[in-house]
Subunit: 397 residues, 2 copies
């Protein structure tokens, strides 16, 4: 009691300050191409070979010396010997993608020929290099192919494979320690029993861990830590080898809220109190190189803090490129009211072509998230939106 939020920091400023204190890991590890999708390249990829590495036929047809076909036409065809080798006056069958024999300099498409016994009737003339893909047509040895920091997609894996690579160096995933705190929490090992009154099963740590994994990190969940500043401090210290720490619960200004003070005692508390509803008690800090997010214990507030701070923080720490966020434009089925000075995270459900805000669903009511398809963000300086207004809707991942 008596303690107050450091200040209510606007969301954007809070995010910026936090990101400024995060340094990318940029430590590399090697993975097989079979496991590279979704990973981030730690090295520039420069082609070590030509693709194709041979002169490639672009057509099903006959490899010829172009000079043998000059003047050929349907009315005045030229006859060539069908052979295994190409010499003056002879030609060889090639299919699309096959190597063009060294002695040939063009491929005549099958549609311009007819076969009579072991003779090929050539009904069109071709110029040198016609239908012959040169060595390195797709990728030349020495060409830059992917930059450092490129997020690898399945189609990129096959480009790497075509260059003769089997493994690739990527940035290792950040390890994120998830520390649930709270005297009221019961381990999920006891999920089968209904907890005593006033006690609840630990669920926020589970949610945080699964989002960490989804966003490209590796989660390390600790046991439940009571609302005791010494115990919280010990748990944080024991996890300073992680690349990021999430403390869940105990972030407000009540008697039992110790997480931000522990961060302040060990490092640098950057933000405590954000202009965000739900999510106001969020605290952000850094201990040495390790960014720390204190997630509010109210489940929806915790989710919102994950979205606003953990996701971008994790991406910066792991050098994971941010995909373009593409909102849906939808009309509101009913109005949204919002408090000036706060970004409001409003859960919405789809209703045909409209979205309906789940108003009145408090920060504690996680089932409102289960019902929600997405969210609408109301900026600080907007009092809300009227029914029928078009808004940007982001899906809940």
């Amino acid at each position: 009691m008596g303690r107050i939020f450091k200040a209510r920091t606007p969301v954007e400023e809070a995010g910026q300050v936090f990101l400024e204190h995060i340094s990318p890991l940029r430590e590399a590890e090697e993975v097989a191409l079979e496991a590279c999708a979704g990973r981030v390249l730690a090295d520039e990829i420069v082609a070590g070979r030509n693709v194709p590495h041979y002169r490639r036929s672009a057509m099903d047809g006959y490899a010829v010396r172009a000079s043998d076909t000059f003047g050929a036409s349907p009315a005045s065809p030229v006859l060539l010997q069908l052979s295994d080798r190409v010499e003056d006056g002879s030609c060889t069958w090639v299919h699309t993608g096959a190597a063009v024999p060294e002695e040939a300099d063009a491929v005549l498409m099958v549609e311009d020929t007819a076969v009579v016994g072991n003779l090929v009737e050539v009904r069109a003339q071709v110029y040198p290099n016609r239908n012959v893909g040169p060595v390195g047509e797709d990728i030349k040895a020495g060409d830059p192919v992917f930059e450092v920091g490129h997020l690898l997609r399945p189609c990129d894996a096959s480009v790497l494979a075509s260059l003769g690579l089997n493994r690739v160096r990527v940035f290792r995933k950040p390890v994120v320690a998830v520390i649930p705190t709270g005297d009221e929490l019961i381990s999920r090992e006891k999920a089968g029993e209904v907890p005593p009154p006033g006690k609840v099963l630990e669920t926020n740590g589970l949610m945080a861990a699964l989002y960490v994994e989804k966003w490209g990190g590796i989660s390390r969940c600790t046991g439940i830590v009571p609302d005791d500043p010494r115990k919280i401090r010990e748990a944080v210290e024991a996890n300073l080898d992680a690349d990021m720490i999430l403390l869940s619960g105990g972030t407000s200004v009540g008697k039992r809220d110790h997480a931000p003070q522990v961060v302040e005692g060990l490092g640098n508390l950057l933000v405590h109190g954000v202009g965000l509803i739900p999510g106001k008690p969020t605290a952000l800090g850094v201990i040495g190189e390790v960014p720390v997010v204190c997630l509010p214990g109210y489940p929806v507030a915790g989710l919102v803090a994950m979205y606003f701070f953990v996701r971008p923080g994790l991406r910066k720490r792991g050098s994971i490129p941010e995909p373009p966020e593409i909102p849906l434009r939808r009309q509101l089925a009913s109005k949204i009211s919002s408090k000036i000075g706060y970004v409001n995270f409003v859960r919405v459900v789809f209703e045909g072509d409209l979205v309906r805000p789940l108003m009145g669903a408090g920060a504690g009511v996680l089932s409102s998230v289960a019902k929600a398809d997405g969210f609408v963000l109301v900026p600080e300086n907007v009092e809300g939106y009227e029914a029928g207004e078009e808004v940007d809707v982001f899906l809940i991942e």
Copy 2:
């Protein structure tokens, strides 16, 4: 030679026919909540308990009998004994989220009180149930929470956990056999050596397998099968225990193209030849219950066929809900030409606020996909778009 495409089926019709022949597996397996994100519920979830399971204080303050506070005001406060139990004339401290003692029927917020020794000065009156969250306020025992087929998100995992669940039944992932075919293919085990002229490393199977995993399936890659109808048939028969089969290569109408005929011989060849550029030689079929896609051997054409047919097919087979596809609207930096009668899959790169089409990049040039950020689809009846026109851009996953 002499064989022709069954018919050139329009893309939409091809997709519909294929999906009509796919039946969802709907076989369930149990997973831990730690592994449930991205999986699809096989059972309806009905709340087995109330959340909260006790009367919950909505405020930090004092649990009281409301009748003890009647008439209290700042000018005329009521004094109550601070105690461990609530009786007539006494009250107990409760924090937000704590259980309200059975004998109490309201919580007085701390802001309306002052503590003097072991007395609490009550400066406001409260009515019964004030600041007391009833049992089942969030979720009532017996309430439906999630429907069968719901795609589980991390936030949903914590809702399930709050209901006392530790494991959940989800649909098993479809197993997709990926069979690369082609005399020209060399196993990636030999990636270190440059293959002989006319031979290329197998890369399409790798790409297909990684997309299968990304879209929610389990890939099973076989060895390379030569362009021999008997060998292809054997490989298909050996994989009829899979839930879907992808044959890569040999889908066209050349001498060495046997995949569609093998499908026709074993089951039902539904489509061979699609109005799609690249991707025209795609074939679709079904053998018993097992859908089969014959992917063109040209890498980009194979990728396009993955997007148009494998992704929706896999989703239907695995009962995986389709996320809303949200295109970006972007202006074209240069024109796109397209062939009437074909849906054209045009690779594009971002250039500031514009997108630039990678025209002239053939179906064989996989590096054009590596360079591409997304694609634009030009419908069958459109000849193209002019520079400056706004188009829908889909990201390449």
